[in-house]
Subunit: 463 residues, 2 copies
């Protein structure tokens, strides 16, 4: 029996989860598998989410963010080729062409996993047309290299606080604002709509308030549209309304986009984001699988495709693909709820921020009429020092009382409560189910009705 | 239209939730309600769960534990009679007899709510047969008076560490061990089986280890059976195996029992615990309702009655009764999962402890064959300072992969994760549902697969 040739493009969470899981599954099934992995960068299996904390100084170094090194992958039997950028697929011939230092190579496969991830969005205004490179002082936050660049950029500032402008108010934008502010710099976040737009405006406003209290300037409603540059180095940014903001450094936190440019997307299931659309088993086409940030995902509540690139999905999808490669149909990806969490912690300001399900805009887009309510309460019994304020917004469908989403902004212990709501959503719960379920209580941890239940109960009474 | 006479016996969480909710509901419905409440003690609506933290010195005073004072209840229109102990019910005449300072009184009702709560179990060995009172230095931890007594007892010890023996290793026992140890005393916990027996032995052992590391002596497998007394004051305790432990003070943490002795239990639905067994709407018999710690509850997974007196259930049941008094059948109590949380925090030792669903013994008693697994992991990404060790035990039914329970012991942020499992249990989830659901991740809060999912996934692979 000749070994099945498994070729994985992309050696980060999704690809390497698939590879290792396939190896384990093949071993258990007694089948032979020869795994090759191509990785465009020099890094494997690292936590992109950890980079802002590395930049803030919380993490010992970039190495600490690497979950599994190239050596560890190779020790598991994976023929890992670093600096190898896939440039095309010949589906008929079942070959992949890739570029590496030595030139172009072609590799055959029996099964192919596309796990090329995503790259930071870099707008034209960030690029020096003369060099084709980003202007000095302007960088995104996606790869380990980016993280190292940011440590250098911050270290290279003259004594005293620098002026850091964060272009974009999403998760990475808020986290980089935290990092730069904690390092003592003057920070301005400039964002098209509002900070953390996956939150509704009323909840986003709570985050913005906390950021302002911590000395971050927030410019909402007007994105960065151009830079003020001198000698190839950024000196300021202009927002759409014409205002100029001085800047020594500019963080590009404008989102990420799927690395699928090398594919003939017209011939593969894919969406307007450029993301691939594999089936629930991870299969994209005959002999081709896809997982991770290069994919769109199905929203569990609406059934629609959406682009929500997160490590959690990448890990799950990779594992599902790895399993199904050996045992077809064994596992299915159950969709996403859009669950996410972050924090903004600077000095005395400490906010945990989380969301799941649909927000008001998403519900409207899905044609679901919702009623929503923000409830304020406490993370612990009021007489305990652990008690921090928390606000929970819950959304439910008017027609059938089904829970549609929740957003949380509050102190220590607030954020992870989103998992309770996410689990209820996963099971199609009504707002009443959540209100009356048996959650844990002790004075350091909650009020007798957990704030999530109070929020659900109040909404239930309103519906 | 004459007002409906609602008589509530017991002015703590269950009774007063019922009373206030009934008043609100009647107001909304435009009906008239005259509410009288009898309370045996002088205190209303207080957090018994907060007493150990008050004793530890974390809470400013006993008043801080009172959610609503007598004045607040009266301001809401409740005719509250303190120091009024119900002694009997005449169901035919619809009257309640009660004893107060002025003698015996009789009061008529149209609807009666029994919410008499529970009292600390005090064994015969704690009582001086000469006086009929507890020996000096021996006290339970249930009422606000108990809390004040404990502050006095601890303050009355001579300089230097006292020797505090905690009889009982349940939640209150562990919390009082924490309180006394944090105050610098020598603490010995003596318990029949093990500390926190709602946990399986393997998880209880993790708690015991933490307690020992914090300097608490734990004597498991042999309960206190008798005291060594001199001049009416405790000097030591003897465990069942004959060992003597010196003691200046003894905490009675032997559980609580329903205050239903004044009822003719043979004529009311009740269980072997002495707890009442109301229907899911809270109705016990014609014109009689029951809620709170004087009741047994139905386990949602097994359907069997059990005695799990907790403030969370009391609050819910009270609210349900109050609603249904005005709108019959509007709300139903969905049963309990046995969800609970506590912590043990002394010096550098910090453990959060939580459980939900069935443990191994309970599963066996219910005839459910389970497979279980303990998984160790981290509360946050390993490279973050927030990362604390955590162990999660998950149990699932072998026959249909349904989740049956979970237990958690770990550092900061570990405990409240039990709500995720409880919510899954509430909806009859399989272990696979939990493993693959969309939970929140960011480096300060979790690993990319939350530890609860890792635990479920590993168990799923084992089933």
């Amino acid at each position: 029996m000749s070994a099945t040739r498994l070729l994985v493009i992309g050696a980060d969470a999704a690809g390497m989860s698939a590879a290792h899981q396939a190896i384990r599954a093949a071993e258990a099934a007694g089948t032979k598998l020869a795994v090759t992995a191509l990785e465009a960068t020099g890094d494997t299996s690292y936590s992109a989410c950890g980079i802002p904390y590395w930049v803030a100084g919380d993490v010992s170094g970039g190495d600490a963010l690497v979950a599994r090194t190239a050596e560890e992958h190779r020790a598991a039997g994976i023929d890992l080729r670093l600096g190898a950028t896939a440039t095309g697929i010949d589906r008929q011939a079942r070959t992949v062409t890739y570029r590496e230092a030595g030139g172009e190579q072609v590799l055959g496969y029996d099964e192919l996993v596309i796990a090329t991830g995503a790259s930071a969005v870099v707008r034209g205004w960030a690029i020096d047309p003369g060099t084709g490179q980003r202007y000095a002082g302007v960088a995104p936050v996606k790869t380990l290299t980016d993280g190292a660049v940011w440590l250098d950029l911050l270290a290279g500032l003259p004594e005293g606080p620098g002026r850091v402008v964060v272009a974009g108010g999403g998760y990475i934008g808020v986290e980089m604002a935290e990092a730069a502010r904690r390092r003592g710099h003057e920070v301005t976040v400039i964002t098209r709509a509002r900070v953390l737009s996956p939150l509704d405006p009323d909840m986003s406003a709570r985050v913005e308030k906390g950021m302002r209290e911590a000395g971050v300037r927030v410019v909402a409603g007007s994105p960065v549209v151009r830079l003020d540059v001198a000698d190839g180095r950024v000196r300021g940014v202009y927002s759409a309304d014409g205002e100029r903001y001085p800047a020594d450094l500019v963080v590009l936190a404008l989102g990420i986009a799927p690395n699928t440019g090398f594919l003939d997307l017209g011939k593969l299931p894919s969406g307007p984001s450029g993301g691939l659309r594999p089936g629930p088993d991870g299969r994209l086409a005959d002999g081709i699988w896809a997982a991770g940030d290069c994919c769109e995902v199905r929203h569990r509540l609406t059934g629609t495709w959406t682009y929500v690139p997160l490590g959690t999905h990448a890990n799950k999808q990779g594992r599902i693909v790895g399993t199904n490669l050996v045992t077809p149909g064994a596992l299915r990806f159950g969709g996403v709820l859009g669950t996410a969490i972050t924090r903004f912690a600077v000095g005395a300001t400490y906010l945990e921020i989380a969301r799941t399900g649909l927000n008001e805009r998403e519900a409207a887009a899905a044609g679901v009429e919702v009623t929503s309510l923000v409830t304020e309460g406490s993370t612990a019994s009021g007489y305990m020092s652990e008690a921090d304020p928390v606000a929970v917004k819950v959304l439910a469908a008017r027609s059938d009382r089904r829970l549609m989403g929740a957003q949380i902004v509050g102190g220590r212990g607030a954020g992870k409560r989103i998992d309770t709501v996410a689990t209820a959503l996963w099971h199609g719960a009504t707002v009443d189910d959540l209100a009356w379920s048996d959650l844990s209580y002790a004075p350091p941890f909650a009020t007798a009705w957990d704030i999530v239940q109070v929020a659900a109960r109040r909404l239930a009474e309103r519906l």
